[in-house]
């Protein structure tokens, strides 16, 4: 563990010249701005990646004419959405209609605040990190419910009611899977969770608890797909049934906020998956000397982004392969299958931990 020095020339210069109370905030403000910029750029990149990967899955090319390999396509999309006419339908509940798009984005940004990108590349490291994440990710659900009800449209009402039922129920099994890792690693803080997975690849939580870790990872994948309204479980904006789902009445900036929130949320869930189960920013060590040395040479956040990218690819793979579930299958999948299995999994992991059978 190399001790990183906490002071930094730019940071020291700012702290020196600012009055005392502001200086304390400087560090936080700087990191929040960097995080926001990073995440928006990553979201724009994800929009492009989604369209290219979806095209390759369907044996076609995807955007190619807008900039090299179509890289400027998401920028053109967001700029156009920015400049659209801002329609406020007459029968709309103004407060609910305009407040709703803000919530999902803030929800996913708050989750990213505690994401450990690298050893100390982290905005904040609260001791009860996992509890904070479970609380904050409820904000997205709120936004969809308010938006659906506020736009006074039967399709969006149906979409938001479905979203409400789906997101609340899948929150349970997602939290249970995270709880398993927290219990096994003994700490709530995400940074310690990652550090608890140090050592070889077998020390990652996905492999450490024999069977329980891998099952928790699979359950996490399923429930986070439902949290994101993506893939086979995208019932709240079911394209072919509800025409537009909860964001039917949104145009221009309102719609692009929902659109962006979906991708920021995807990055956040994939990041959480990597942090809890795949050893966050730790390089994979296989016990072979020279290979480990080379792998450790690559800095931590590269590993973090690689693992997150792999998970994001899994989400896209699910979305472009599977048909959509029906609402009652979706809920019975959660209540009758995921919840009992994740509880039993928690119990199994608890016995393993107490009896000390964690793999060496």
């Amino acid at each position: 563990m190399i001790a990183y020095s906490a002071n930094h020339p730019v940071g020291d210069f700012i702290r020196a010249n600012l009055p005392a109370p502001l200086a304390a905030l400087a560090n936080g403000a700087l990191s929040v701005v960097v995080l926001m910029v990073l995440v928006v750029v990553v979201a724009i990149l994800l929009v492009w990646l989604e369209r290219k990967v979806c095209a390759r899955f369907q044996a076609r090319l995807g955007p190619t004419r807008v900039g090299p390999f179509g890289l400027l396509q998401p920028i053109a999309d967001s700029l156009k959405l920015l400049l659209k006419e801002n329609i406020k339908p007459r029968a709309v509940d103004t407060l609910a209609y305009f407040l709703a798009p803000l919530l999902p984005i803030t929800g996913s940004f708050l989750v990213l605040a505690v994401m450990p990108f690298d050893h100390n590349l982290q905005v904040a490291d609260p001791q009860a990190g996992m509890v904070y994440i479970a609380a904050v990710s409820g904000m997205g659900i709120l936004g969809i419910l308010i938006g659906g009800w506020g736009s006074n449209n039967k399709y969006s009402l149906l979409g938001s009611m479905r979203a409400g039922a789906q997101l609340f129920s899948y929150e349970l099994s997602m939290v249970l899977c995270m709880l398993l890792v927290v219990m096994a690693s003994g700490t709530g803080s995400l940074r310690e969770i990652v550090l608890s997975q140090q050592g070889t690849v077998r020390d990652w939580w996905i492999f450490k608890l024999p069977g329980a870790g891998a099952l928790a990872f699979v359950l996490y994948l399923i429930s986070s797909t439902a949290e994101l309204n993506r893939g086979p479980l995208d019932l709240s904006e079911a394209e072919s049934e509800l025409a537009g789902g909860f964001h039917t009445e949104y145009s221009g900036m309102g719609f692009s906020m929902f659109f962006l929130a979906e991708f920021v949320n995807m990055f956040a869930s994939a990041g959480l998956g990597a942090t809890f189960f795949l050893g966050g920013f730790l390089a994979p060590q296989f016990g072979i000397g020279p290979l480990d040395h080379i792998l450790a040479f690559i800095p931590g956040f590269i590993w973090f982004f690689a693992k997150t990218g792999a998970l994001i690819f899994m989400y896209m793979w699910f979305r472009w392969t599977f048909p959509r579930l029906r609402i009652d299958h979706l809920l019975s999948l959660e209540w009758k299958f995921l919840l009992p299995v994740s509880m039993a999994n928690l119990l199994l992991a608890a016995t393993l931990v107490t009896l000390g059978w964690i793999l060496p």
């Binding site: 369209r51 995807g62 004419r65 807008v66 999309d77 156009k80 659209k84 145009s251």
Partner: protein, 409 residues
């Protein structure tokens, strides 16, 4: 910059951003963004929609142009590709959709039907003759249906238009085509005759001079290209399946003496043979035992005509013929019935809904087109046309100059 009354963006006068009216950097970037991110509305009424789907599919892939996200809700779409015929009843819905779309919005008229009514220009009482009568159109793509490459070329033309700043035009309410529906074919030849008459006067003496100078002038004879010759092929009649018509008729004759074979009243043995193996029994039935005959044909185990192919009517100017086609799925034979009705405004005939559930829509369609009332039908309303459609269109005496252009030849 207050919003205009229908809260759309304020309309900047042309060239307001820069007096020269040419594009400056901001215009260029805005035009580039709007041109490259056209999200089409999921809107397809008939055959052109299949070619639009083929353009969206992997072979032609309009996602390369940034059109991948086809939105189902008009709020998020900024381009309507009118793929398919626009009919009067659909016209009002199309205008609502167009008004629900925000900000700079564009319309592509794809296919002959949306440009001018295409094949349905003449003799159709319900087709809108050209979609630019109800919605301002930016690009017309001819063809029926146009190839995917033609649609892509049309989209590229629209993108070029947007890059040149046409998005400013689409914020204003452009004028629609309000010219009356006229017979383009005859007007074109009439106009030519007038021009031709004047031209012939001016050429008259030149023609006499030419005839005087070389009386025996033989013009160029263009040879007729011989069409390929095929020789006659005898038709192999397919034997009708199931019970021969003679037996069906005799079984019916016992129960309903008044029923006669259409066309030849007294039918003898050799008459049946003369009608040929493919002849399907065609009965003429009076209104009284119309329901009884159909019920008998359906419930009789030997006949078992349990499948109603269709109910329709023919207007013979002095009387109506209600036509019923029945078929037996097990035995395979068919029976055609026709019932003669007087030529009133609303002739009446009993319904067949208690025998066949499919009679429900067939009878409503016949009422919609001919005005024939089916007594006992629980919900006899128009099926295809709006309730305020004047008259019943398939009657021979139906005239509606505001909607129909008669084809002159």
């Amino acid at each position: 910059m207050g919003l205009t009354q229908d809260n759309s963006l304020p309309i900047p006068p042309a060239g307001s951003l820069n007096p020269a009216g040419s594009l400056n950097a901001v215009d260029w970037v805005v035009g580039w963004a709007r041109a490259n991110s056209l999200w089409p509305l999921v809107f397809g009424t008939s055959c052109c929609a299949i070619e639009m789907m083929a353009t969206g599919a992997s072979h032609h892939d309009w996602a390369r142009f940034g059109l991948e996200v086809a939105r189902a809700s008009p709020r998020q779409a900024d381009l309507i590709i009118l793929a398919g015929t626009i009919v009067e009843k659909m016209g009002s819905r199309l205008v609502t959709l167009y008004e629900q779309m925000p900000g700079p919005k564009y319309v592509i008229a794809m296919g002959a039907c949306t440009i001018s009514g295409g094949p349905f220009y003449y003799d159709s009482y319900s087709v809108i003759k050209g979609a630019d009568r109800i919605v301002p159109i930016d690009v017309y793509i001819p063809g029926c249906p146009p190839r995917p490459e033609a649609l892509l070329y049309g989209i590229m033309q629209l993108q070029a238009l947007i890059r040149k700043g046409a998005w400013r035009k689409s914020l204003t309410h452009q004028p629609l085509n309000t010219s009356p529906i006229r017979d383009v074919y005859s007007d074109c030849s009439k106009a030519w005759e007038i021009k031709e008459k004047a031209k012939q006067e001016s050429m008259k003496e030149a023609q006499e001079r030419f005839k005087a100078e070389n009386p025996d002038f033989k013009g160029v004879v263009i040879k007729r290209v011989a069409a390929p010759k095929f020789d006659e092929v005898a038709r192999v009649p397919k034997p009708a399946r199931g019970m021969p018509p003679a037996e069906i008729f005799s079984a019916l004759q016992a129960r309903f003496p008044a029923v006669a074979v259409h066309g030849n009243a007294d039918v003898t043995q050799e008459k049946w043979a003369a009608l040929g193996p493919e002849y399907v029994l065609d009965l003429a039935v009076s209104r009284e035992d119309y329901h009884g005959v159909v019920e008998f044909l359906r419930n009789e185990p030997a006949l078992k005509l349990d499948f109603l192919i269709e109910i329709t009517a023919v207007d013979w100017k002095d009387h109506f013929d209600v036509i019923v086609h029945l078929q037996s799925l097990d035995h395979g034979h068919k029976v055609f019935l026709r019932c003669n009705l007087p030529h009133e405004t609303h002739p009446e005939i009993p319904t067949l809904m208690d025998l066949f559930a499919s009679a429900n829509w067939h009878e409503r369609e016949t009422y919609d087109f001919f005005g024939i009332i089916f007594v006992g039908h629980p919900d006899l309303r128009r099926l295809f046309l709006d309730d305020d459609f004047p008259g019943h269109p398939l009657r021979k005496d139906f005239e509606d100059p505001t909607r129909v252009v008669k084809r002159p030849y």
